[in-house]
């Protein structure tokens, strides 16, 4: 332990516990367990039961997954003042990844049961945590929507081409499609949400690929659609 180090003062400056009063900080300091790790030492392995979460006082921790082929994929590197592994601490599931100290590190460990017990008594602490988790949730939801935004145009193009080519083959009009499902159903089919689908339709329309009027879609540029559909064309 570094002399002159105050756990409550340290906690007061972390994002997870900022804004809490001294009584709360003291209670948290009392349940925290100081742990020292050497460089290269494992903190926990992927698949182990989530026994609590960690906060780094000083040091650096690598959180990573190992694929079935033995390839390491680093998810995140945490530093001073940051916390990790709080998810399994709350949902009681296993650690979804492994953690190793990249250098000599001094951590504070908050055991799951004791921490949950503290939350049950301290509303302000619980509310603080609610905000932290809500922020994570928004971040993840945004990340997924961003990824969707990249994939949905290709999937939609494939869908439109498929639909325009099915039906009566003697009349090869690639030009007009009548959607017989709602936009909400179409969004779900393409693995996204209505808002994202709406944006994608808008862009395709602006780019002159299609003209959309309610559930009637005119394909203006079939070649352009095929390019967008890329390697997803089915036989």
């Amino acid at each position: 332990m570094v002399s002159g180090f105050s756990v409550p003062d340290f906690l007061a400056n972390t994002t997870m516990f900022q804004g809490l009063n001294s009584e709360h900080l003291l209670a948290l300091a009392n349940i925290a367990i100081a742990q020292n790790y050497q460089k290269g030492e494992t903190i926990f392995w992927q698949g182990e039961p989530g026994r609590g979460f960690f906060m780094i006082v000083t040091g650096r921790v690598k959180v990573f997954k190992v694929s079935s082929e033995g390839k390491e994929q680093i998810l995140h590197i945490f530093q001073d003042g940051e916390h990790f592994a709080e998810l399994p601490a709350f949902d009681g599931q296993c650690f979804p990844a492994s953690a190793v100290a990249l250098e000599k590190s001094f951590l504070l460990f908050f055991p799951r049961q004791t921490f949950l017990g503290l939350l049950a008594e301290q509303p302000n602490l619980a509310i603080n945590l609610l905000k932290v988790f809500a922020r994570y949730l928004r971040k993840f939801a945004q990340l997924i929507e961003d990824l969707s935004l990249k994939e949905v145009p290709g999937r939609l193009a494939t869908y439109l081409l498929d639909v325009s080519q099915s039906g009566d083959n003697s009349v090869k009009t690639l030009s007009e499609i009548h959607l017989n499902i709602t936009k909400t159903q179409l969004a779900a089919l393409l693995g996204t949400i209505p808002e994202t689908l709406s944006r994608v339709f808008s862009k395709m329309s602006q780019d002159g690929l299609i003209d959309i009027n309610g559930n009637v879609i005119k394909i203006l540029n079939p070649t352009g659609l095929r390019v967008l559909a890329g390697d997803r064309l089915t036989n």
Binding site: E86, L87, F90, D91, Q93, P96, L116, L119, A120, E121, Q122, P123, A126, I127, L129, L130, K131, F133, A134, R135, Y136, L137, R138, F140, A141, L143, I144, L147, S148, E151, K183, T184, I193, P194, E195, S198, S202, D231, R232
Partner: protein, 157 residues
């Protein structure tokens, strides 16, 4: 006027409250206000700071940005749920398409309930963590899939 059973059913329909303990649900349902809105009324606008969740009890609303429609919502739908925990600007405008009735829960009401019963927060945090975990897995799957289709393409060449 909704009965307490009706309220409970509507509140249980909110994704973050779906698996909340029954007694917590009853507690939250009992403090919510019932609001009536006329047709063509904007319940909240894109960019406004919001700290309340709404559940549509009757009527239909459209979710839109200025003049571009993003979605239409029916009875049972909820909007603004995440603003219970932070005060992010609303990401879209909600305008009624016909006269509507809503249940509303404000951040203040939720915090008061938590003050009395901290277990509510712990329960919600658990649900949020589970949701985060699911989204995390979804994210990993999405990030993995481009390489899957590339390798499939390689096999066909």
């Amino acid at each position: 006027m909704l009965t307490s059973v009706d309220r409970l059913l509507f509140v249980r329909g909110v994704p973050i409250f779906k698996e909340l303990r029954d007694d917590f649900l009853v507690r939250l349902a009992s403090v919510m206000d019932e609001l009536s809105f006329p047709e063509n009324y904007s319940i909240f606008k894109e960019g406004q700071e919001g700290r309340s969740l709404y559940i549509l009890v009757s009527g239909r609303v459209r979710v839109h940005l200025s003049d571009r429609d993003l979605a239409k919502l029916d009875k049972g739908a909820c909007f603004g749920e995440m603003s219970l925990f932070d005060a992010e600007p609303r990401s879209a405008t909600i305008t009624t398409l016909e006269p509507c009735e809503c249940l509303m829960l404000t951040q203040m009401q939720l915090y008061d309930a938590i003050d009395e019963t901290p277990g509510i927060a712990v329960n919600i945090i658990r649900l949020l963590s589970r949701r985060i975990r699911e989204l995390n897995q979804k994210l990993n799957a999405k990030e993995a899939s481009p390489s899957v289709s590339l390798s499939k393409l390689a096999e066909t060449r």
